[in-house]
């Protein structure tokens, strides 16, 4: 209970930091401008303006959310270590796992607020062009946030293992990319020798399953079954918690 209270205080502080961060503000403003620019691309699709405006906007919101979460997670702990702020925090009775959880939650909250603002702007633009966002809009934005959450947890872990923000960002990018190609990777692994296939399968299972969280494609294929929310939320929670638990473990063994 006490740990959760401390984590929530750190989360609110991280959220405040995130809002004050110039890069974060820039991402949000730039995404807003790009969303507006999507009107032009939509107009070029003539009779398919709604579809293009919808896809371009949702894609931008996802990228902006991902950028803010991954950058926030890559620098959150490392910045405190560089500026020595961490000594001030950890000199108080702050459990290290509460510190990690609080930072992560604050960054996710910031991204959720930013994505909600961008989605509101996007819906306004769609309405302005006489189009409706359609069924599943909120679910798609939520799944984009879940993707960012999973990538963010992985980034926190890599940033603590490597103590380099750049390598954490690179690894997040690589896992993000591979996570969308798991079907293809499975196909490749089925062509390998049994031993290599087993090893590659293990690796494929460890790579975050972004395909599961990509609800844009699921909604587009109307023949597909309704999203398995239990699986989607459960998987995101387990993946993020395991990464954060390992990150907390590594952090707890660091000496300051």
């Amino acid at each position: 209970m006490r740990t959760a209270r401390i984590a929530s205080i750190i989360a609110l502080e991280a959220l405040r930091e995130q809002w004050k961060n110039r890069f974060f503000q820039l991402v949000v403003i730039f995404s807003g401008v790009l969303l507006y620019a999507a009107l032009l691309l939509g107009a070029m699709a003539v009779e398919q303006e709604r579809r293009v405006l919808l896809d371009f906007g949702q894609g931008l919101i996802e990228l902006a959310g991902l950028a803010s979460v991954v950058l926030g997670c890559a620098y959150a702990v490392l910045r405190d270590m560089e500026t020595k702020t961490i000594y001030l925090i950890l000199s108080r009775p702050v459990p290290r796992r509460a510190y990690i959880a609080g930072k992560y939650a604050g960054i996710l909250l910031g991204a959720a607020c930013a994505m909600a603002c961008m989605a509101a702007l996007h819906i306004l633009l769609l309405k302005f062009r006489g189009a409706a966002p359609g069924a599943g809009y909120a679910a798609i934005i939520f799944s984009s946030w879940l993707k960012a959450a999973v990538a963010g947890a992985l980034t926190v872990l890599v940033s603590l293992i490597s103590t380099s923000a750049l390598s954490a960002l690179s690894m997040a990018g690589i896992f993000w990319t591979l996570g969308h190609f798991t079907q293809e990777l499975r196909f490749i692994s089925s062509r390998l020798s049994p031993a290599a296939a087993l090893l590659s399968k293990l690796l494929i299972w460890i790579i975050p399953d972004m395909g599961l969280l990509n609800l844009r494609d699921a909604y587009a294929a109307a023949s597909a079954a309704a999203p398995a929310w239990g699986m989607i939320i459960g998987y995101s929670a387990v993946y993020s918690l395991v990464c954060l638990a390992l990150a907390s473990f590594i952090f707890s063994r660091k000496e300051f």
């Binding site: 691309l41 107009a43 070029m44 699709a45 003539v46 009779e47 398919q48 303006e49 579809r51 293009v52 896809d55 371009f56 894609g59 996802e62 990228l63 993707k147 993000w176 990319t177 969308h180 190609f181 798991t182 079907q183 293809e184 499975r186 196909f187 293990l202 494929i204 299972w205 460890i206 790579i207 975050p208 399953d209 972004m210 395909g211 599961l212 990509n214 844009r216 494609d217 699921a218 587009a220 294929a221 109307a222 023949s223 597909a224 079954a225 398995a228 699986m231 998987y235 387990v238 993946y239 395991v242 990464c243 638990a245 390992l246 473990f249 590594i250 063994r253």
Partner: protein
């Protein structure tokens, strides 16, 4: 085993277990990366967009390119349509941007013809990215079957799209219309296309074809109604202007119902 290593192994095992369970859930049926019919120029772009999970966006970008490609007025021999300059002036090359009302449109007499050799390749490429993009399939098939007279290629596009949406009745309507068109039966083509015209996502080009076939068999009132629908609802300048012209020609003309074989 040191504690740190054990923690890593345990975490990896947990992630692998979660990954194993998640991959048991059903996924929408999309062509795998090796089945994407990328062109030499589009391979990198396709890979980049797919790797970010932007399959639909990749199809959208290629649909805009397809529209622009098909909007470039072509000569019957295949080159870009030119209007000979008078008094030694330079010949005018028409821009595809007339679709958006940003350039001068060629008149209707000039618009007949054109080969559009890459039309099917481009359509198959974008459908391999998003085979559920039914508007694109209908648009490309309509252009191939009724405008550039390559019904076999149109059927290839439709049958490919139908694999992913077997219950899509508009594909069946188009396939039937192409069949009747090949058999030289404009009345049946008009009847079949008429069903598709009532759908809100029917391309203006197909509506124009339906109106044309109705006009051809003397069903002038129905042709007028379809042109009016294009005039009121289409966002494509070219079709809107043509619909206005056709409405003026058809206004007050009685139905003759001259069904010809």
């Amino acid at each position: 085993m040191p504690v740190k290593t054990a923690a890593f192994v345990f975490a990896a095992a947990m992630l692998a277990l979660a990954g194993y369970v998640s991959r048991l859930s059903p996924r929408p049926d999309y062509p795998q990366a090796d089945a994407i019919k990328s062109t030499a120029e589009s391979g990198l772009e396709d890979a980049s967009l797919l790797s970010m999970g932007f399959r639909r966006l990749a199809a959208d970008v290629n649909f805009i390119r397809l529209l622009q490609y098909y909007a470039q007025p072509e000569e019957p021999s295949g080159g870009r349509l030119r209007q000979e300059g008078k008094d030694g002036k330079q010949a005018k090359v028409f821009s595809e941007y007339y679709v958006y009302g940003l350039a001068e449109a060629p008149d209707n007499d000039h618009f007949e013809g054109g080969v559009y050799a890459e039309l099917k390749t481009r359509a198959m490429h974008l459908l391999s990215l998003d085979p559920y993009f039914s508007y694109a399939a209908l648009y490309a098939a309509g252009a191939l079957a009724f405008n550039v007279n390559r019904p076999a290629e149109a059927l290839d596009v439709l049958f490919y799209a139908k694999q992913y949406r077997p219950a899509e009745w508009k594909y069946d309507s188009y396939i039937a219309a192409i069949g009747y068109s090949k058999a030289g039966d404009p009345a049946r083509v008009a009847d079949v296309l008429d069903k598709a015209v009532s759908s809100p996502d029917c391309p203006a080009m197909l509506k124009q074809q339906a109106a044309f076939f109705n006009k051809k068999i003397g069903r002038n009132r129905r042709a007028y109604e379809i042109y009016e629908d294009i005039y009121l609802h289409s966002k494509d300048e070219f079709y809107v202007r043509n619909a206005a012209r056709q409405m003026a020609l058809l206004k007050g003309k009685p139905d003759t119902f001259a069904v010809t074989k």
